[in-house]
Amino acid sequence: MSAILTIDRLFKQFPIAGSRQVVQAINDVSLSIEPGETLGLVGESGSGKTTVGRCIVGLLDPTSGDIRFRGTPISGRKDTRRALTGKIQFVFQEPAESLDPRMKIGVSISEPLIPFKLNRAMRERRTLEAIKLVRLDPALLEAYPSELSAGQQQRVGVARAMVTEPELVVLDEPTSALDPTARAEIIDLLQRIQSERNTAYLFISHDLSTVRFISHRVAVMYLGMIVEQGPADTVFNRPQHPYASGLLSSVLLPHPHLKIESSVSLKGEIPSPINLPKGCFLASRCPFVIERCRIEMPPRTDVGPGHSVHCFRHEDVARTVPASDTFTVFMAEAERILGRKPVVAPIKLAEPANPVDTRT
């Protein structure tokens, strides 16, 4: 199958006013997304993941590199961009801020249809379809954003992206401002739409647990570089880059006995992207560091089918970290704990005045 989106050697630098220095936001990123596939792009703040998304949708022009949609170069070209109107869409992090507070929901959802110059009946039909697609009551088309909960607002954000029937949607932290229940609803929704329409997603997030379940493949970014990329279960079960391993071990699953093991505990914080160090960017925080890491940048090494990593010591990392699928174990536990059949029968209980010490 041919990829729907390919990015080849993308760089993006931002000039700093009053200085000759630049912020090196993206450093040599290459990736591709197939139709109907979800690529999870993970990393901490400042890793450049949002910048990648913005370059794809055309909100930013890359400094160098190639972005192709179905083989056609799109970056910095107004003519091809126009031909692609509605084919690539974007969902933002803050639903409240991305909706016009004075615009009714129905108007917001139909706005991306303006360039298509549809007649009114057609536009209304598409809008109605979109709001039904995200499982909201069509009566809400007449409501204002402030009347909706954050989860409902984000469903409107999804409806607005889907109304043009895009082939690729860039989702930039679409769930991180939401409560867990609203987050789960959005994720279900996105997966259902994908299976119905074969839409491809670039899912940008720092929430690894969500990425694990929604993504087919995953790319881990650090300081503007993809340090490890591969099939989601392979990368999550046996990461080969120290940063990926450290990042995974910081996932706190809601189960007191399940913890992702790692031999990497990351100290300190992500360095400034202004003066990037020579050699590997992780060298200052990495417990596996050797002299060579400080001198040269580790090249991209293929370690399995569709699985690549930038690390001189990836074999040692893979060896010291026990391969485990904690996420699958967690799901089985959830099934066991939450799969109980509720019995609606009152239980006689004694009521205490104030539950003081409850440990005895």
């Binding site: 901490e44 499982r135 909201l136 009551d137 009566a139 809400l140 409501a143 009347e147 909706l148 909960s149 954050a150 989860g151 409902q152 409560d179 867990p180 229940t181 789960a184 609803e185 994720i187 279900d188 720092h206 647990s209 379940f213 990042l247 071990s249 910081s250 996932v251 706190l252 699953l253 809601p254 189960h255 007191p256 913890k259 505990s265 990351l266 100290k267 914080e269 959830a334 099934e335 704990i337 939450l338 799969g339 109980r340 059949k341 509720p342 019995v343 609606v344 009152p346 239980i347 209980l349 004694a350 009521e351 205490p352 104030n354 539950p355 003081v356 010490d357 409850t358 440990r359 005895t360």
Partner: protein, 337 residues
């Protein structure tokens, strides 16, 4: 995360006095209409010496209102209408402001999110930390400076001597959070409230800050109320966990009980949101398609509860003990089959 053992539970014959005892705390916010909105609905909670108790809630549950009301200062136009917070034999809510000011910062302290807003941008951080010690412990300038430096080392700020003279804008978010923690702990408070203190941080930094907080709390023997919207944190970090919904605690249990044998349908719904299983989620939730409504009568959760019966919408369930240590506010708690 440290799998902290429970604080030694003495045998049942010896009653342990709680360090902080919150009883029937009610806070209202004025609304446009005549009825003020009750944001805390008669909340009861006791914190034992040295324990870390987690308080989980979604946005709007009343988490920050609780954190601030414990110190006698509910946010914004909020007003405490009833209840008491007993600390050291006295009701904090009755204390005159000067007395209260002495307690806050010294015996009771808060770690807030968004640390940079909390720090004075025009004063070096070392001075700000030392000021806490000078005001509350009454030590001299040199001693305060020495304590501040020791505290910066404790919170593992790299190059602490140099950071003493740094201004808040020169620090990253993670470092500013460490400074705020240093300020909160320098006077060895008996009780620390952490109000979503790690929510703005990246996960690898969050892991470091959590490890730090739990180690410092153990070293200083402080008890902690750890308020968060991330239930995952509490599974690894807290001794007991309380689940807050719409101003009331719906379930309170030892960590293991809460996560392995959850009893309130709301807790099961929250946990199912992490299960990534649509089947489990459907079993425990009612889809929200239209505009939100509030349920004032009976159980506030009944409007979203898949198990709700007519009685739930009429009668507020009592906060009852299901098993030793495990409390639930529900007419029909879920029990292991």
């Amino acid at each position: 995360m440290a799998q902290a053992p429970l604080p030694e539970a003495a045998d049942a014959s010896v009653a342990i006095e709680p360090l902080v005892r919150i009883s029937n705390l009610r806070v209202v916010y004025p609304t446009g209409s005549s009825e003020p909105k009750e944001v805390l609905r008669g909340l009861d909670l006791s914190v034992m010496p040295g324990e870390i108790i987690g308080l989980v809630g979604e946005s709007g549950a009343g988490k920050t209102t609780l954190a601030r009301s414990i110190l006698g200062v509910p946010p914004g136009p909020g007003r405490i209408t009833e209840g008491e917070v007993i600390f050291g034999g006295r009701n904090i809510l009755d204390l005159p402001e000067p007395e209260l000011r002495k307690l806050r910062g010294r015996d009771l302290s808060v770690v807030v999110p968004n640390p940079r807003a909390e720090l004075n941008p025009t004063i070096p951080v070392g001075k700000q930390i030392a000021a806490m010690a000078r005001i509350h412990l009454g030590v001299g300038k040199e001693e305060a400076k020495r304590l501040a430096l020791a505290m910066l080392k404790d919170v593992q700020i790299p190059d602490p001597v140099r950071r003493m003279d740094a201004y808040p804008h020169e620090l990253s978010g993670g470092m500013a959070q460490r400074v705020v923690i240093a300020m909160a702990l320098i006077c060895d408070p008996a009780f620390v409230i952490s109000d979503d203190a790690t929510s703005g941080l990246d996960v690898t930094v969050q892991t470091q800050i959590l490890a730090l907080l739990s180690r410092l709390a153990a070293d200083h023997g402080s008890a902690m109320l750890f308020i968060t919207r991330d239930i995952g944190i509490t599974a690894h970090f807290c001794d007991r966990v309380a689940v807050l919904y719409s101003g009331e605690i719906l379930e309170l249990a030892l960590r293991e009980q809460l996560f392995l044998e959850p009893a309130h349908p709301y807790t099961l719904m929250l946990l199912s949101a992490f299960s990534h299983s649509p089947k489990l989620r459907d079993a425990w939730s009612v889809p929200e398609t239209g505009l939100r409504q509030d349920q004032e009568k009976g159980c506030r959760y009944s409007i979203r509860c898949p198990l709700a019966q007519p009685v739930c919408r009429e009668v507020r369930p009592p906060f009852a003990q299901l098993k030793p240590g495990h409390f639930v506010r529900c007419h029909f708690p879920v029990t292991p089959s």
